[in-house]
């Protein structure tokens, strides 16, 4: 009886959030999945005036076989890899520099972190102008800047290039999130007690060895968190792309844009299928992290 009494208040406390999550997150994930197994492709079916049939996984196989969706997936992979590498490398370097006590560190930290406070839509509008694809006389934005600084050969068509246009979207994304990765790494650096470094130095470790054997191993959980957070943000990218390009631009199409496009033409089945594919991709990124985290907690 006492044991029962001890868990009842706890359950009551979390039950509202549990209920809301259960309905609005997991319930709707289930509904979306069910929708994706149907042939609900038209307006009449969406309102129940035409029959909706069960088609199994054929929406998925058709999507994955279509060159248009493969193009979206390819864009997503390129974008994610570049976005991850860019933010991790730049963020780490900044943190490494700021880690040594330097003058005005607080100011630098805020300066680097600040772009993250800007909404993707706001920065997208500015970058849309910077990434104008005109070259030569009509150039503006970065292309104009290249001309003025004698770097005219660098002018390019930015996000409208059908093969690598998506890389131009990674540029503002990296600009915005590098500061956040820096903050993560900086916290990691600060978490390493000075005693450890001193002990290593006393034992005669060179500066390189110190980083290799003492600092880096302690930073790996931070690096993993950064990887997961940036990775799942990248998979869901939508607002930045919509505000720089638009929903029909071929060069910057990713699955999230496809999902939106399907929903606007009442093709709810395909829209839900793309949503589920995205969810699976995000889960592939996040679940190993949760597992790792849980294991680490058990150990600790």
């Amino acid at each position: 009886m006492t044991r029962v009494r001890s868990w009842i208040p706890g359950l009551l406390l979390i039950s509202p959030s549990l209920l809301l999550l259960g309905v609005f997150v997991y319930g709707f994930i289930g509904l979306s999945f069910r929708e994706s197994l149907t042939d609900k492709h038209t307006a009449a079916q969406a309102t129940g005036r035409d029959e909706v049939g069960f088609v199994g996984l054929s929406n998925y196989t058709e999507l994955l076989a279509s060159p248009a969706f493969q193009h979206s997936l390819r864009n997503l992979v390129i974008f994610t890899v570049v976005f991850l590498l860019g933010t991790l490398i730049i963020g780490f370097c900044w943190a490494w520099v700021l880690e040594r006590p330097i003058k005005g560190e607080g100011i630098f930290r805020s300066v680097y972190l600040f772009p993250m406070a800007v909404s993707f839509v706001a920065s997208g509008v500015v970058w849309k102008w910077l990434l104008n694809s005109n070259v030569g006389e009509q150039a503006s934005g970065l292309n104009r800047l290249f001309q003025m600084t004698g770097l005219g050969f660098l002018q390019n068509e930015w996000w409208t290039n059908p093969r690598y246009g998506i890389l131009a979207i990674a540029l503002p994304a990296i600009w915005q999130l590098s500061g956040y990765v820096m903050a993560l790494f900086l916290a990691g650096f600060r978490g390493i007690p000075d005693e450890l470094r001193e002990a290593a130095r006393v034992d005669g470790a060179s500066e390189l060895q110190l980083y290799r054997h003492v600092v880096f191993p302690q930073l790996s959980p931070v690096a993993l968190s950064a990887l997961i957070i940036i990775g799942h943000m990248s998979l869901k990218s939508f607002d930045l792309i919509m505000s720089i390009a638009n929903q029909s631009a071929y060069s910057t199409k990713v699955p999230a844009i496809d999902m939106y496009n399907f929903a606007t033409i009442y093709d709810y089945a395909n829209s839900a299928a793309v949503g589920v594919i995205l969810l699976v991709l995000v889960a592939l990124a996040v679940v190993p992290y949760l597992w790792y985290d849980a294991r680490a907690r058990k150990r600790g």
Partner: protein, 438 residues
């Protein structure tokens, strides 16, 4: 000690931020279940108010709506007008909201929609009523052009009443740029080939022959090139399956369109129609093909037709009026059906159409309104509307359902960004329009 405190602060910051990210991750939900929206019994003939949803929320459009509401107040003083206008994205925001409201069985009393095939989704979904009875009641069959009524009729029924008409096949011209290139701006070229020859001359001077903007503006050019090359009859056939999209004529039109795209500005995908028109106004480019709402942009910059700019029908489409129109509907299950009827009567009345169109810059769908009341461009458009062959615009929802125009937009942008050639484009257009011939 100071060190440790800082760590605490920083990691708290990081945790809070990642928490926020995780929360936003939960945002993507399902599309939800939908229920049928048969609510026919509700409302009856209640005319106490009328809630009208439009995307006329700013500029000349809002001014037009205000003028219309004033006439409504005079004609139906007992019905209160409730404005449910929603701004943003040339109607795309309003359409999203409308889609949700209709699915939930909670429609406005009337909503704005492009006439023609764009209504098909609402018809298929059983969300709007047949209003052909009101055409007889209000005597509209005699005052709307016969070919317009033909275009509006779906299986002997008409589902909306047009309030204003726009013309799609208009070229906006900068005469100074043409003179510089040795082209006479006063006489329009006879056909597409002659026009393209002129474009080549402009290109030789280093100026941009034609400006284009984002997806739909490229489709807008394409539909008019098709109209010019195929002629009105075969062009109409594109929308009912009687003209073959895979045929040689379409291929030759696409090749010419591709050449014009090649000559256009390279930053097109980032521009809406107005910034795309701007270089023509400023004398950096010669031509822009755009609907006649462009007049409002010229007016806003105090430019005069005949001096600062010229306009003609797209070469090869003289005598054809490529139309699109805004119209109003009677949703199934509207709470104040009497109010809806009153509203439809006002927007189709001579006073209503006169008040609205003189302000918005479009022309009335009725042909019994005195043209002398309108500015110069609209007078010429009204004359054309009365006498020309009327065909439907694809880019603006009159010719094909949204799913088709969306697919066409995507194929067109894929081509103009350089990811496909003319033959691939044609195949994709065949696939995009497949549903039309069924």
């Amino acid at each position: 000690m100071r060190q440790i405190k800082k760590v605490g602060r920083l990691s708290t910051l990081a945790v809070v931020m990642s928490g926020a990210l995780v929360l936003s991750a939960c945002g993507g939900g399902g599309s939800g279940d939908s229920s049928g929206s048969e609510g026919g019994s509700a409302g009856g003939e209640d005319a106490g108010e009328v809630q009208v949803m439009t995307w006329w929320a700013q500029g000349s459009e809002k001014a037009g709506l205000d003028a219309l509401v004033e006439v409504f107040g005079e004609q139906h003083p007992d019905t209160e007008f409730v404005n449910a206008a929603l701004a943003g994205g040339a109607g795309s925001q309003a359409k999203q909201k409308l889609q949700a409201d209709l699915q939930a069985g909670n429609p406005p009393d009337s909503f704005q929609a492009h006439t023609g095939a764009e209504l098909q989704d609402y018809i298929d979904a059983g969300q709007i009523e047949d209003v052909s009875g009101l055409y007889d009641e209000f005597g509209l069959t005699d005052v709307f052009p016969e070919s317009l009524i033909e275009q509006l009729t779906v299986d002997d029924q008409i589902y909306s009443i047009p309030s204003n008409v726009h013309r799609s096949n208009v070229v906006w011209v900068n005469p100074a740029v043409l003179e510089e290139a040795g082209v006479d701006p006063s006489t329009p070229p006879a056909d597409l080939d002659a026009w393209m020859a002129d474009m080549e001359k402009v290109a030789a001077t280093g100026k941009t022959p034609v400006t284009l903007g984002m997806d739909w503006t490229q489709t807008h050019l394409l539909e008019n090139v098709l109209l010019s090359e195929l002629g009105p009859e075969a062009y109409n056939g594109l929308w009912d399956g009687s003209t073959d999209w895979a045929g040689g004529e379409v291929n030759s039109a696409l090749t010419k369109w591709a050449q014009i795209v090649e000559w256009s500005n390279t930053d097109r995908d980032g521009l809406d129609w107005e910034p795309a028109l701007q270089p023509v106004m400023q004398g950096e480019a010669a031509y822009n093909v755009m609907g006649d709402w462009a007049v409002a942009a010229y007016d806003a910059q105090d430019m005069t037709a005949g001096e600062d700019y010229a306009y003609w029908p797209v070469p090869g489409t003289d005598g054809v009026f490529n139309y699109l129109a805004d119209s109003f509907t009677m949703p199934v299950g509207a709470a104040h059906a009497g109010g809806t009827k009153a509203w439809l009567e006002t927007i189709s009345s001579a006073e209503g159409q006169l008040a609205f169109n003189t302000v918005k810059g479009s022309i009335p769908a009725r042909t019994d309104i005195d043209a002398a009341e309108f500015p110069e461009y609209q007078q010429s458009a009204m004359e054309a509307f009365e006498n020309d062959t009327i065909v439907s615009s694809l880019a603006h929802g009159a010719a094909a359902p949204v799913a088709v125009s969306t697919a066409v937009n995507q194929a067109v942008v894929k081509f103009s960004q350089g990811a496909s050639d003319v033959d691939t484009l044609q195949q994709e257009l065949v696939a995009a329009t497949e549903s039309l011939s069924q």
